[in-house]
């Protein structure tokens, strides 16, 4: 009884700390953010605290974004991030041996700049790393620019002005075609499909290509796919072209807009989905907004028993349309091989 009492006496004051320690050890990005705040308190009197504050803040913010986008597109950012300080002890020999870029970081008072440049490096080298060789250069650049914008918007809003003025605008002005792709992706992002469809298909492309030699044809296909998304999603008119499909060499996908006008019954959607499966598409996206979210869920129930469709993800999100927030849903199915011998 005495032992139980002493355990309880020990546990009582620690009851608050134990969950916090468990939470922080399973959420390193949150621990890093708090570590940065704590270190900043001593940054004026300690050189090490100043450096820790800069590094932990960046690791926390980028880590947090990476975690959030990876939950939507698994595998898109397979690496965590670590800022490794290089001190004055570096010699020419060790510099060449490492063969790495050394990025200059300012004091934490200029953290906006630090975050932007670190985010650019992380995204350019850590995002979609397997797919990068197979994606058109401008498509990749604009994808990077929009992802960096999303990261800064989510994690360090004060740095947006610097990012727009010093990075995004000059990049757009320097290349008209790149500017067009940036606008297309921005619009896709506003509708929620940049992450849900484009990034997912680019991610899948890397997996499909399995480190084979990059060919121009594949890169061209990624451009055509972005044009397709622009035409069929960004510029879509209500009730028109509700079943767009893209049948390329490597990207084969169909988007099913579940909308009330077409869905007095969901039978037409089922017929179309079966047709897509027979045509050889690799992925099918069911998309719906507002009231149609319920219809998508009905359709999902009907597809549960489909022998060749595997639901890979379902994501409900909100977008701003005409000044109001609207619920949306996007469900992706992967199409499996047919059991029937040809």
């Amino acid at each position: 009884m005495g032992n139980v009492g002493s355990i309880l006496t020990w546990l009582a004051p620690n009851a608050v700390w134990i969950p916090i320690v468990i939470y922080l050890s399973t959420h390193p990005e949150v621990a890093a953010k708090w570590g940065a705040i704590f270190s900043r308190l001593f940054s004026r009197i300690s050189r090490a605290a100043e450096m820790r504050s800069v590094a932990l803040d960046i690791q926390g913010r980028i880590g947090s974004f990476s975690k959030s986008i990876s939950s939507e597109v698994p595998g898109i950012m397979p690496y965590g991030i670590k800022i490794q300080w290089v001190t004055g002890e570096v010699t020419k020999e060790s510099f060449f041996k490492d063969g790495e870029i050394i990025l200059r970081m300012n004091y934490h008072t200029n953290q906006d700049e630090n975050v932007v440049y670190a985010a650019m490096e992380y995204i350019a080298r850590g995002m979609l790393s397997q797919s990068r060789p197979y994606v058109d250069e401008r498509v990749m650049k604009s994808t990077d620019l929009i992802c960096t914008k999303k990261l800064i918007d989510k994690e360090r809003r004060t740095a947006l002005q610097f990012y727009y003025g010093e990075i995004l605008s000059p990049a757009r002005k320097s290349d008209g075609e790149l500017d067009r792709y940036v606008l297309i992706m921005q619009q896709l992002d506003e509708l929620g499909y940049f992450t849900q469809i484009l990034l997912r298909e680019l991610q899948r492309l890397g997996v499909t290509m399995q480190f084979s030699i990059p060919e121009e044809g594949v890169k061209e296909e990624t451009k055509q796919f972005v044009e397709f998304l622009d035409e069929k999603i960004n510029r879509k008119k209500p009730g028109v072209d509700v079943y767009p499909e893209f049948l390329g060499e490597k990207i084969k996908t169909s988007i099913v807009y579940v909308a009330r006008a077409e869905a007095e019954t969901i039978e037409p959607h089922l017929v179309w989905i079966n047709r897509c499966v027979d045509k050889g598409v690799d992925t099918i996206y069911l998309c719906g907004r507002g009231y149609n979210v319920f219809l998508v869920k009905d359709l999902e129930k009907r597809l549960q028993s489909h022998s060749r469709l595997t639901k890979v993800f379902e994501n409900e999100f909100r977008v701003s349309l005409g000044g109001r927030r609207v619920n949306c849903i996007c469900v992706r199915y992967d199409v499996g091989e047919s059991d029937v011998e040809p």
């Binding site: 050189r47 100043e50 450096m51 800069v54 590094a55 960046i58 397979p78 690496y79 965590g80 991030i81 670590k82 800022i83 490794q84 300080w85 290089v86 001190t87 004055g88 002890e89 570096v90 010699t91 020419k92 510099f95 060449f96 490492d98 063969g99 790495e100 870029i101 050394i102 990025l103 200059r104 970081m105 300012n106 004091y107 440049y117 670190a118 650019m120 490096e121 992380y122 350019a124 080298r125 850590g126 990068r132 650049k141 990077d144 010093e166 990075i167 000059p170 990049a171 320097s174």
Partner: protein, 74 residues
């Protein structure tokens, strides 16, 4: 989880690093140029230092130059 390492030099160690890499004098004389665009790099617009062959090169704050350096390093 594997981590992507970003090597960085803090402002307070920059002078010593430039000195060790033999860049302090060229930068003081205004002779150091961006390895990508060729513009003069000074302490205000220096963004990164990178190896290229057997040369130590620097990159200015122009985002296009930085992106090109990142691309080369991929």
């Amino acid at each position: 989880m594997r981590k992507h390492i970003i090597k960085a030099v803090h402002e307070q160690d920059l002078g010593e690093l430039l000195n060790n890499l033999g860049l302090s004098e060229p930068i003081a004389r205004g002779e150091l140029r961006c390895g990508i665009c060729g513009s003069i790099v000074n302490l205000d617009n220096l963004l990164c230092i990178y190896p290229s062959g057997d040369e130590v090169k620097v990159c200015c704050k122009n985002p296009e130059c930085y992106k090109q350096v990142l691309g080369e390093a991929e």
